[in-house]
Symmetry: C2
Subunit: 552 residues, 2 copies
């Protein structure tokens, strides 16, 4: 009887255990989990703290007992693998409650140890009011403090997914929340003009946002909280601090194992999730994955990939090698108050850093037909290759329908589809769900127009330079819209009278055309091009994007 | 100056007009529309009658004046093309208000006349209480009658998209609604076990459903309504009757034109939307399109394809032939009270009729993580090829997230993707939006398991025959679930004790395993297979699908 040992009992480990059992009823399967819980809802933890999820039992998807009954898998909680010995096919295991150690043999070993939140070495950061959120006990601790009513101010350090979700959920509990982020923006997986929309939403919901800012130290306060000292000299009092500055892989126990690790300690695997040692496989947050655009190794700790990897590792272990884990493009989404913020594939930053040729467009459109009640605006950024016309990535922000467009684009990237394909996607249309031309079709059309040379676009961050170089700023919105504020120096000629006012425009300057979202600007662009204005450009995303970054 | 004439001012015609202008600022563009409105929100009309859309102006997206101002296109409403003359490149046009006729010349002609609802030749069907819904005046008439408060009972004839939307919206107005459908099910574009879910929703909302039923005649009633006589002998009184039994193309005016028409009167075009006559193009509901699975010509009147065709016709007219209109797979969605009902690609009926090899699976899963509040069940049917593993089609029904999964599958079909690809789609996951394995991934896994021979499945309609042939019915749900009702003759062995009760099962019979949705059944199937039960099958979609069709 073959014996499978799995180190780690959360996402990828448990996914693998269940699949291993379904593929082989007779194998012995043992899961080692150093914590006290398996298969818990890690992505739900912030919502339990926010009391959006009010029943703690909802977080516990499986217990060792339920897993034994259903899958005949032995789950040993509080059992930590402290060393593995590939040569003898054994693992040294410590019972973390008793400290006792023992050896376990295996025929195949799956490493699914996951990651842990990074705790920085900031002076004073061992204070009991300073927490990280990763496990059920972490959650219990934080929820207990919050429930006790002693937390009136909280500081979240790090504006990634967990940081933002915690900021929101702490606000839901009536707590005053400050968020400190080292970078100029939160969510470093999206581009700055999209992050600007997130900043606006955070501020609207009274999150005090400190960007380009670091925490340099904590001092204890007599009331039980801490005083956080920021790099800028600012001080912030907080009854509770949540550190969410990143995750490191739990691979310390592999140090002397001969298992090959990457530069940041992640396990190196092939596409079938095999390590460099025979009969040892790895999956989940602790492994390196391949970026689909560069082929380079990277680490992307996300629940979706982890779960899928667990299943594939089980397939590999059972000799099913017709499939593999090819790459992770990093599709992700977060709820930020009334916004959903989603991203898939390459960002502009990524393309620049990697030297990948790209073009980008931004649209703003209703998530369904405007005439049906409840249409919400989607801000949609698309990246695509000017050479192959292939879709490279997208970012979508809005109240409704964000996840749908991200999933469609993720599918299109997976299928190596082009912007032309996007225009042809035959989506499900009825007024409550979409428009006759979905925003996905529309952004495909816009990209086509750019690639076909029908319009040249300029991005928000190119306006200043264009103006400095003498561009003529043409606002084609209505007079009412113009009066409410425009870019300094702009001339207003509404689109519907532009044909009659063409004589007012200079032929010797670049004409930088803009409107609210970019549609009227595009039409104006076509009109002027046809009248011999060879150097006109349209502001991508219009004033909606420009103002999100710069205000007015 | 080139002169483009467009016949038809709604979806495809106006989409073409706007694109023609953007491609050529200097062309003369004339749109002929026989009705009094252009670019109106056809898909919104039922919702205005239901007062979901309360402002009539919302329906009027453009006027001839606004279109003139924005696009410098001349729109002639109340102008009907009554004949075209390709040899002289002229069109005979009638002013429908005055009856006067005139000729108009063209350089290029786009035929976008759309369709009209079929009015059957049922005795008595000219009664003024019997309506069809297609245009703004139709809508005004029906809304006025409904607003007047004289309608307490309504009869909808035909259970397609418009029929269902009207049934719902008339219910919203407090009207008692009966729906008569000739076929055994509503929505003939979905398969029967999925339609059963729609029937349940309709009945739950007090729509009186008459399936397998026809209307054979109408008699006037003294109160202003009609008495509808049904084929079965039943009589139904109705103050208002809405006929929605289908649409025919408005191509009568082409009879003597030499334009090639299909068997049902649709205009035949090539993939660039050119007719058989030089400089004459066609788009929208009046054309034949290609089915992507068979390559055969068909007609699919839908707003999305019509709008996209209009744009492509304009491109062709301007010499842009790098793109084309390849095919229509018939993606569609309807809101039916609390359900969204979506479909894309091939159905089981279609595959059978066309002799396309297929397999199908059904899953039921939450539209997002179950532990996050508000998860709604999705019933998801996937069709795929057992030879190429390619995705052929899907049907999804549920309260939330239906449109997303349909759009993802439509994108996957567009990209020639396989069920294996579905398992690898890297979707946007956070608890409010999805699960770590999205229902799209999950149904891909189920399809893989079937193709890989890990499980054999049986569909709801195969149960009776299997039982007649002596199958052993094994219900692996919990005793409580079993006590609440199961398939007659089933034996209950809960999944979690199955391993200990295997001796109770017969080796000489097919074991038909089932549970609520199919997941426990699959696990049981794997256990029994491993114990030498070579003839076990799992009920696809479980009792949830079975009961939707047969009740219990």
């Amino acid at each position: 009887m073959v014996k499978h040992l799995i180190i780690g009992g959360v996402a990828s480990g448990m996914s693998a255990a269940a699949r291993l059992r379904r593929l082989d009823e007779h194998a012995e399967i043992i899961v080692l989990e150093r914590g006290g819980y398996v298969s818990y809802a890690n992505c739900g933890l912030p919502y339990y703290i926010g009391d959006e999820i009010s029943d703690r039992d909802e977080l516990l998807l499986q217990t060792p007992e339920s897993f034994k009954r259903r899958f005949n898998v032995e789950v040993r909680i509080h059992n930590e693998a402290v060393a593995i010995h590939p040569d003898t096919k054994t693992v040294t295991i410590k019972n973390v409650l008793t400290g006792a150690q023992y050896q376990e043999t295996y025929d195949t070993l799956l490493l699914a140890p996951g990651g842990s939140p990074i705790r920085p070495t900031i002076p004073g950061c061992e204070h009991p009011a300073i927490k990280t959120l990763w496990t059920i006990p972490d959650t219990d601790e934080i929820r207990e403090i919050v429930d006790s009513g002693t937390v009136s101010t909280a500081l979240v350090v790090g504006g990634g997914f967990i940081g933002l979700e915690m900021a929101e959920n702490l606000r839901f509990r009536g707590i005053r929340v400050a968020l400190v982020e080292m970078a100029p923006q939160v969510m470093n997986v999206i581009d700055p003009e999209m992050a600007a929309l997130v900043h606006r939403e955070l501020r609207k919901n009274n999150i005090e946002l400190y960007l380009n800012e670091t925490v340099t130290g904590f001092e204890p306060l007599s009331g039980g909280g801490v005083l956080a000292q920021l790099g800028s000299g600012t001080h912030l009092e907080a009854d509770l601090v949540l550190l969410s500055i990143g995750v490191k892989p739990n691979t310390g126990f592999l140090a002397d194992s001969g298992i090959q690790l990457g530069a940041r300690g992640h396990i190196i695997v092939d596409k079938h999730l095999r390590t460099n040692k025979p009969d040892i496989y790895a999956a989940g947050d602790a492994i390196e994955v391949v970026n689909p655009f560069t082929g380079k190794k990277t680490a992307i700790p996300l629940a979706g990939p982890a779960n899928k990897q667990g299943r594939i590792a089980a397939d590999t272990i059972n000799g099913i090698t017709t499939r593999c884990y090819a790459s992770t493009m990093g599709t992700a989404i977060a709820k930020v108050f009334d916004l959903a913020v989603g991203v898939t594939g390459a960002t502009e930053k990524f393309c620049r850093d990697e030297g990948i040729p790209y073009k980008s467009v931004i649209t703003h459109s209703g998530h369904h037909a405007g005439y049906y009640p409840g249409a919400a605006m989607l801000s949609f950024k698309l990246l695509f290759s000017p050479e192959t016309r292939r879709v490279l990535g997208a970012q979508v922000i809005g109240n409704q329908g964000v996840d749908k467009r991200i999933d469609v684009i993720a599918t299109a990237i997976k299928g190596n589809m082009t912007v032309d394909d996007l225009t042809e996607i035959e989506h499900a249309y009825a007024p409550p769900y979409s428009s006759a031309k979905d925003p996905v079709n529309m952004i495909g059309f816009v990209a086509q127009n750019i690639l076909d040379g029908l319009v040249r676009s300029i991005t928000f961050d190119g306006v200043k330079r264009a103006v400095d170089e003498g561009a003529f700023l043409l606002d084609v919105r209505s007079p009412d819209e113009f009066m409410a504020g425009s870019i300094h120096g702009a001339v207003n000629i509404p689109i519907d009278i532009l044909r009659h006012k063409i004589a007012r425009l200079p032929h010797d300057k670049t004409i930088l055309i803009f409107c609210k979202i970019g549609v009227r600007g595009y039409i104006a662009n076509r009109i002027l091009s046809a009248h011999g204005f060879t150097s006109c450009v349209n502001l991508s995303g219009g004033l909606d994007t420009y103002n999100a970054v710069y205000g007015l």
